[in-house]
């Protein structure tokens, strides 16, 4: 079974970034997303990345950098070498490989806003922070 070494950016916003390397065996034809999902089950359930559909390239959530180039993790194939995975550079980092990709008007606004229809109690509390 061929083995890929995934070198993965770890850490969230405001944390010193680090890299973790995982060696993972794979069946030829498997995707980066296959490997990331397996890593969560077998090695580190805290590894953060985005996806909703399962390798169907329908949700378009799993965009990340592979060796500095933007790919969909679900269509990029594993190869028997070191593969460097990083979060999208032009999006705000959430954690590890996950970034903020929702359109601005489909996010929960930071700190709340009148447009969200916040209850008075909630608004008052937000004001206290």
């Amino acid at each position: 079974m061929p083995i890929a070494t995934l070198s993965i950016h770890r850490g969230g916003l405001g944390e010193a970034p680090r890299r973790d390397a995982f060696e993972i065996g794979f069946e030829p034809g498997e995707s980066i997303l296959d490997a990331l999902r397996r890593l969560r089950v077998d090695r580190d359930p805290t590894l953060a990345f985005r996806y909703a559909c399962l390798n169907a390239n329908a949700c378009k959530e799993c965009m990340m950098l592979l060796d500095g180039k933007v790919v969909y993790a679900c269509t990029a194939r594993l190869e028997p070498r070191e593969m460097r995975l990083d979060p999208l550079p032009n999006k705000a980092l959430l954690r590890d490989l996950a970034t903020v990709i929702a359109p601005p008007d489909e996010r929960l606004a930071e700190g709340g806003s009148a447009r969200e229809g916040l209850a008075r109690e909630g608004l008052a509390r937000e004001g206290l922070k």
Partner: protein, 566 residues
């Protein structure tokens, strides 16, 4: 476990007239309809991104609707009831067929782009239909087109619909027996959120994520069923999980939906063959297809599984699906660039057969509702696949998207009426305090991803399309052990961005009772019917023309039976 002393007062709060949980086809249609009927503050939530998660976006092709000149929704209804094997609720099925056809026409005005043929819609004849009735946009991307058109329409509605993604609802809030809103995990920030709403619509789809191989998405954890059950609603027909017979099995195929062979079968027929490259459907009660796609889903699932069990399966334990008899020009004519995407996966259809086997696809059961999509709990409605009843023991091809649209529209209208009536009590933070305490609790690390994988394996092994009393008992015991392991508090701490280990814990908290509901209902039904096949009770028993209902009484889920509605 370290329960913090934080309470509902620590959660961000949003207020809405109508809360819609889930932004697939049902949820988006519900939001549009609620706003059209006057709800001024509709809040549309999804645990993923709006319009990109769930099952609608994964739909490949066909949407059943009686919109042809020589068709009528009553013909569609007759086929839907026949497919349901005697367990469909005829009133709900009629709404699917009648309102669904209207929705298809309205979607046309919203420029979904239904394929045309002459003056009307192009349509194919799917197995189980008496005539060509399944409209489509494109042979492989009808679902994305439906999602896109609905999302564009939601945006056109304007500020009456507020859309927020990455919100996983963990509990409904119940006051004096009525649902007044919800508590949720904001996945992006890891923070707790509460929502007050006069009416809440569960549009969360089905439960396919309970199975290791499934055709939907990460989002379909059965969470809507668990939310409704805990809030006091009734679930029905939970034993009926539809397996799609020809899910892709091997070789590894990436960037494509595992049910993509369905449209190939529509267009080109194809041959299902056993490990020795022989036709085998006839051996298990199927008719010779002669190059036509005519075998219903439950029968094909049965035949493929039985043939493999008899030691005559394909190398990976399924069946071969072959198009090698189809000339290359015809393959290219039918599927053009898709042929190249397959080539990139090492599959040359002129030379290679592929391996297929049944894959969890849809859930016929779900939340029990009336014809206005109201549950028995005031303030709580359901829509789409989350609803049980219309499809009985087996769903007809093409009915899922139609059901999503029709029930979404009906639920949205009723939710707007409820919001205007003022019949639901106002949200009280105190009623959400237990749910919020869970959202802000901390606990030791846990391999929740591994636990989800275990649940999927045990459900696939013992609660798949073929069940026995012994297997179901084994599943029940394993689920009990898993429930104890999951415990009362999520791993880690609140406030961590995109914390999947914690999200998986909240998902397990929904998946386990839903899996238990499937096992409980499947254990009790001592007959075989449609998608529920008991190897120890292989015959269909007319005395079992009953719907099984589940509800939570205290800590116990109790089961009762009712004759099928007339």
């Amino acid at each position: 476990m370290n329960m913090t002393t934080k309470s509902a007062a620590d959660a961000r709060h949003l207020e809405a007239d109508v809360l819609v949980i889930g932004a697939g086809g049902a949820g988006m249609y519900a939001a549009i309809e609620a706003a059209r009927r006057g709800a001024g503050r509709v809040l549309l939530l999804d645990r993923s991104l709006i319009g990109r998660g769930g099952a609608t976006v994964m739909a490949q092709m066909t949407v059943a609707a009686a919109v042809g000149p020589d068709d009528h929704w009553e013909h569609h209804l007759a086929d839907t009831l026949a497919a349901g094997r005697g367990l469909s609720d005829p009133k709900l099925a009629a709404l699917l067929c009648e309102v669904g056809a209207d929705c298809i026409l309205e979607m046309d005005a919203w420029k979904v782009g239904w394929a045309r043929s002459g003056d009307g819609f192009a349509a194919v004849q799917a197995p189980g239909h008496d005539r060509p009735r399944c409209v489509y946009v494109d042979f492989l991307s009808t679902g994305p087109a439906v999602s896109r058109a609905l999302r564009a329409q939601v945006q056109r509605v304007g500020p009456a619909i507020r859309r927020i993604g990455e919100v996983a609802v963990t509990d409904l809030v119940v006051q004096d027996g009525a649902v007044t809103g919800a508590a949720a995990l904001h996945v992006a920030t890891g923070e707790a959120l509460t929502i007050g709403a006069a009416a809440t619509i569960v549009a969360t789809g089905g439960l396919t994520r309970l199975y290791a191989r499934n055709s939907a998405s990460l989002n379909m954890s059965g969470d809507g069923y668990a939310l409704a059950l805990r809030a006091g609603a009734v679930l029905q027909d939970m034993e009926f999980v539809q397996f799609f017979p020809i899910g892709h099995l091997a070789p590894r195929l990436i960037g494509m939906d595992p049910i993509m062979w369905d449209p190939f079968r529509y267009k080109l027929g194809g041959r299902l063959l056993n490990g020795a490259m022989e036709d085998f459907l006839g051996r298990w009660g199927g008719d010779a297809e002669n190059g036509r796609y005519s075998t219903t889903r439950d029968l094909a699932t049965y035949a493929i599984t039985k043939e493999a069990e008899a030691g005559r399966g394909s190398p990976s334990g399924g069946a071969w699906l072959s198009f090698t008899h189809v000339p290359e020009a015809e393959l290219r004519g039918a599927f053009g660039p898709v042929i190249d995407r397959l080539a990139a996966n090492g599959i040359d259809l002129t030379r290679d057969a592929v391996e297929v086997s049944p894959i969890a696809h849809y859930h016929m059961g779900g939340v029990r509702v009336d014809t206005a999509m109201r549950t028995n709990v005031p303030g709580l409605l359901a829509a789409g696949e989350a609803v049980g009843g219309a499809n009985g023991a087996n769903r007809l091809s093409g009915n899922a998207i139609t059901e999503a649209l029709a029930y979404g529209r009906i639920a949205g209208a009723e939710a707007a009426r409820i919001a205007a009536s003022g019949e639901t009590p106002a949200f009280s933070p105190a009623a959400a305090s237990e749910a919020v305490a869970r959202l802000v609790a901390s606990s030791r690390p846990m391999n929740t991803a591994g636990m989800v994988a275990r649940l999927q394996r045990l459900m696939s092994r013992d609660v798949g399309p073929f069940r026995t009393a012994a297997g179901l008992a084994r599943a029940s015991q394993a689920l009990g052990a898993l429930r104890a392991e999951v415990g009362e508090a999520p791993p880690g701490a609140p406030g961590v961005a995109h914390d999947l280990a914690r999200l998986d814990w909240f998902d397990l908290r929904q998946m386990i009772p839903v899996a238990e509901a499937v096992v409980q209902a499947a254990t009790a039904r001592t007959e075989s019917r449609g998608a529920h096949q008991r190897e120890d009770f292989p015959e269909t028993d007319e005395a079992w023309r009953l719907n099984q209902l589940l509800e939570l009484r205290g800590e116990t889920t109790t089961l009762s039976r009712l004759p099928v509605a007339a």
